[in-house]
């Protein structure tokens, strides 16, 4: 067994480029040193080539070059020896893939999972934060809607029907309040010869039925207050026509009111803790109202002539920026003397007192 492997090894060595070159050199009578001097190579390189220790040489490209130069010096066929080298030792990968010496960060594309998932996660976190902020800021209720610029509608008989802005909130309104009286409404109602109707939909809308169903009930049940004021300066006939028109408008509002009342009757009765707060303003005023849980029921500026009706779990915390701009404040139908509570025209107090 051993003898066979030794023979194979010997045959391999005989056929190796190194042994062939060595034989050719010896046949020519050249020493390793002489040849190394002729080729300007270190003597070690000649020894390593003859021994077949190619891994000790600088690299395979140089190794092949040295073998060709050696072969040329001893009149051997260099190309044949290179082919032999490849066949005996396998085709060495003389051309390894080019490497960059600087660290290359390949550009990440949008479609890459590395880019996609963190982006998605970031968007979700962002959405979560926005939702949390919105919830803490406003609860789950829609922003408080106050009557803004009045809408003037020309009637068939040439009169003008002035309605405060009735946006979507009126449909969802938990409290609909129609307040008449030009003197009370100030700038909102200013037409002397026409029927005037002001629907104030100052309410907090809470779409979460479980969270504040009681508040809805209060708003729905108590907040409906329709008041008509018809000035009769232009005669009875005209007033009649305007009245009829006004009634039609009011009727169109009634189903909402009725429905809400029905809902109210179907729900448990409201406790004392949630009573209606009504404020009437005679000048612009900044006001913040919070309920017992710190939920902001209203935060903003009310204009002159506007009214604010809302309810929340008592005690309510009120911050009023301009006490003298509030003409009347009632809580649970009882007047509150705000003048005593204010200091420097600013009031911070809780209701009930």
């Amino acid at each position: 067994m051993n003898s066979v492997s030794d023979e194979a090894l010997a045959a391999k060595n005989n056929g190796s480029p190194g042994s062939r070159l060595q034989k050719a050199r010896e046949a020519k009578g050249l020493s390793q040193k002489t040849l190394a001097d002729d080729l300007y190579l270190p003597r070690n390189y000649i020894i390593w080539i003859e021994e077949g220790a190619y891994d000790k040489l600088p690299s395979m490209v140089f190794c092949r070059g040295y073998i060709r130069a050696y072969a040329k010096a001893v009149n051997e066929n260099g190309q044949e020896l290179i082919e032999l080298l490849d066949s005996v030792y396998g085709v060495q990968n003389t051309k390894s893939p080019l490497k960059s010496i600087s660290k290359i960060n390949e550009q990440v594309k949008v479609g890459d999972p590395i880019m996609k998932w963190p982006s998605l996660l970031f968007i979700l976190v962002l959405l979560g934060v926005v939702f949390w902020w919105w919830k803490t800021q406003y609860g789950l209720s829609a922003p408080v809607v106050s009557s803004q610029d009045p809408i003037a509608v020309e009637t068939a008989n040439g009169g003008e029907l002035v309605l405060p802005s009735l946006d979507d909130s009126i449909v969802n309104a938990n409290a609909v309040q129609a307040v008449g009286g030009a003197s009370d409404q100030g700038g909102a109602i200013n037409s002397a010869n026409s029927a005037e109707l002001t629907v104030v939909a100052d309410t907090s809308v809470n779409p979460d039925p479980t969270a504040s169903s009681q508040a809805n009930v209060v708003n729905n049940g108590i907040g409906i207050d329709l008041a008509l004021d018809v000035s009769d300066s232009q005669g009875a006939s005209q007033s009649d026509g305007q009245l009829a028109e006004l009634e039609r408008v009011v009727k169109s509002l009634e189903p909402v009111a009725e429905t809400t009342v029905e809902i109210a009757s179907g729900l448990p009765a409201l406790g004392n803790s949630a009573q209606l707060l009504q404020l009437t303003f005679n000048n612009n005023c900044w006001i913040t109202i919070k309920d017992v849980r710190g939920k902001i029921l209203f935060n903003g500026i009310k204009k002159s002539g506007q009214k604010l009706s809302l309810s929340g779990d008592a005690p309510l915390t009120l911050s009023i920026g301009r006490v003298d701009s509030i003409s009347k404040i009632t809580y649970g139908g009882v007047n509150v003397n705000i003048a005593a509570l204010g200091r420097n025209n600013i009031a911070n107090f809780k209701l009930p007192l």
Partner: protein, 345 residues
């Protein structure tokens, strides 16, 4: 936009735009074109048209009728005739693309001499763009030659490469994917041919053509004394008699003829070794100098440089295609956004 769409149907190319030959390497295919950089222009009145390009045009060199001019648009490694180079590149690029529906618009890497000026580089770039390239990158010839020869250019070891081309000889010391020292001398295969023509005219009183001079160089040309003496019969027009005469040249005569251009190359190599930082010079002394390019096929040129410098000199395998193959491999790095091998104008 259209170039991008056309680019989908095009392969990335590496072009060795040499003075003597133009080689094109296509990624995934290898060297697909190796043709002489010669264009034959036919003139009909004021109109000029391309009659032939490459090997066909080279056969016409010096044998053309009055209305056809066979010209070499590259001289000393740079563009001598911009429009003709553009036409030539256009022809070569379309030739390597089988697609006939779309005009190819490939990304192209062109090899330029390391000492070429900004204007010359810009001219090459513009010319390639004019030929339909979508993107043109430049790489210095010795760098491409070193990569093509398989030298470990990314290692922190000095490698010296001498690329003897048709128009120029580029000498560079490379380490860590960069050129530490580079020099370019405008001596190459063409100068060898010219030297042979001059020698024959001076010593034999006969005029031979460039093609004949090239054949003499390839068959019996030698750069170093050797015991073997080779001979060749050539025919040239005798200047005194005005009729063609035949005479015999031997390799020793050609060696004598080539002394001037060869000494210019040796001087440039010595100068590069002088300028080289000592650590890299030590690496070069240990490993040796690598010769590439068509000029390195001149017999015994390795012995000459080895004797003159006292350093081992090895010949690269397949030296004619080293630059084009090296450029082709450099294209791989462009894909990886690594532009450290490239040159800028």
């Amino acid at each position: 936009m259209f170039k991008k769409i056309r680019g989908l149907f095009s392969s990335d190319l590496s072009i060795d735009l040499g003075t003597a030959n133009t080689l094109i390497f296509v990624r995934g295919k290898g060297i697909v074109l190796d043709e002489p950089s010669v264009v034959a222009i036919r003139q009909n009145g004021n109109q000029k048209s391309v009659a032939a390009v490459g090997a066909d045009a080279k056969r016409m060199l010096g044998r053309t009728p009055g209305n056809i001019t066979a010209i070499r648009p590259m001289k000393d490694g740079v563009i001598a005739d911009f429009h003709v180079t553009e036409k030539m590149l256009q022809y070569f690029i379309s030739k390597v693309h089988d697609n006939t529906i779309f005009t190819p618009s490939p990304r192209v890497l062109v090899c330029v001499p390391c000492k070429s000026t900004q204007v010359e580089r810009r001219a090459i770039k513009e010319s390639a763009m004019g030929a339909g390239a979508r993107q043109v990158h430049l790489i210095e010839e010795p760098m491409a030659a070193a990569i093509g020869a398989g030298l470990p250019v990314e290692e922190p070891n000095g490698s010296m490469v001498v690329d003897i081309g048709g128009g120029t000889t580029e000498i560079a010391v490379i380490s860590l994917n960069g050129i530490v020292y580079a020099d370019s001398v405008r001596v190459g295969g063409d100068r060898f041919d010219e030297a042979i023509v001059t020698y024959v005219r001076r010593n034999y009183g006969s005029l031979i053509g460039e093609a004949t001079a090239e054949r003499i160089k390839q068959e019996i040309g030698s750069a170093h004394q050797s015991s073997e003496v080779l001979e060749i019969d050539v025919r040239g027009r005798n200047l005194a008699e005005g009729i063609p005469r035949s005479f015999t040249l031997n390799s020793h005569e050609i060696l004598e003829a080539l002394q001037e251009p060869l000494s210019a190359i040796v001087q440039a190599v010595k100068s590069a070794l002088e300028q080289c930082p000592p650590e890299l010079a030590s690496d070069i002394a240990e490993r040796g100098i690598v010769l590439t390019g068509g000029g390195s096929m001149l017999r015994n040129i390795d012995s000459l440089i080895s004797e003159e410098t006292g350093l081992p000199v090895i010949l690269a395998e397949d030296p004619l295609t080293c630059v084009a193959r090296g450029g082709g491999r450099a294209l791989e790095l462009i894909d990886k956004q690594a532009f450290e091998l490239l040159s800028y104008d």
